[in-house]
């Protein structure tokens, strides 16, 4: 079965530090990739998505992610985090076979200290 791995379960950073959250998936075919964010007490919101084309994807709030097919990875980055980025981040994959369900990683909880 397809799976998504987020190896960093908890990350603590100071404001202005750079962020990189890892995401790896296990499927050799065509995939579409997403990063969702969940701020404390809120629902999931889409940060960015990759469907095709330029593997470097820019999303909202200064986030970007790079799709590296050879590494089955879609890591999320931000050059300088803010306290307001404190949230839980989920990587998700759609595999393009059958009914294309969204498969989520287990999430990374980010705490940014002021």
């Amino acid at each position: 079965a397809q799976s998504v791995s987020q190896h960093n379960h908890h990350v603590i950073l100071s404001e202005a530090a750079s962020l990189e959250l890892g995401c790896n998936y296990s499927y050799g075919g065509t995939v579409n990739l997403f990063w969702y964010v969940q701020y404390p007490g809120q629902h999931l919101q889409l940060l960015l998505k990759y469907f095709s084309g330029d593997p470097l994807v820019k999303g909202i709030k200064g986030f970007e992610a790079e799709f590296i097919k050879s590494k089955f990875s879609f890591n999320l980055r931000k050059p300088s985090v803010q306290w307001s980025d404190t949230a839980e981040y989920f990587c998700a994959v759609i595999v393009n076979t059958g009914f294309q369900k969204l498969v989520f990683g287990t999430g990374t909880r980010l705490l940014v200290s002021p």
């Binding site: 998504v4 629902h43 999931l44 989920f90 759609i94 294309q100 969204l102 989520f104």
Partner: protein, 114 residues
């Protein structure tokens, strides 16, 4: 934000009682989903619907049933709630099921089964 509401937003119930959660959308999207969110597991798909009266199971469907009698409403029922069903439940909607399936999430329902 997508027009998705969930009710109730919070519920405490006792083991063995039936519980129904409601998801209502105003977007006229064809596809609707129920997920549960648990620490260390991310979001897992319970059931989904691809049209009125058309539903199918997700990866954690045991103990849950769903119904969709109208495009805008998707109900999740726990026939006899158990403590293992204590969780946060999210509804999601999407216009398509294909490779460009972008899902929008509701605010969630926090369910506690005592």
């Amino acid at each position: 934000d997508a027009g998705i509401t969930q009710s109730p937003r919070h519920k405490v119930t006792e083991t063995g009682t039936p519980v129904t959660l409601r998801c209502h959308q105003t977007e006229n999207h064809r596809y609707m989903y129920w997920y549960r969110q648990d620490p260390g597991h991310g979001l897992r798909l319970i059931h989904y619907s691809y049209g009125v009266k058309d539903t199918d199971k997700g990866e954690v469907s045991d103990g849950y049933s769903v119904s969709r009698s109208k495009t805008e409403d998707f109900l999740l029922t726990l026939e006899s709630a158990t403590s293992s069903q204590t969780s946060v439940y999210f509804c999601a909607i999407s216009q398509t099921s294909g490779a460009y399936n972008e899902q929008f999430f509701g605010p969630g329902t926090r369910l506690t089964v005592l």
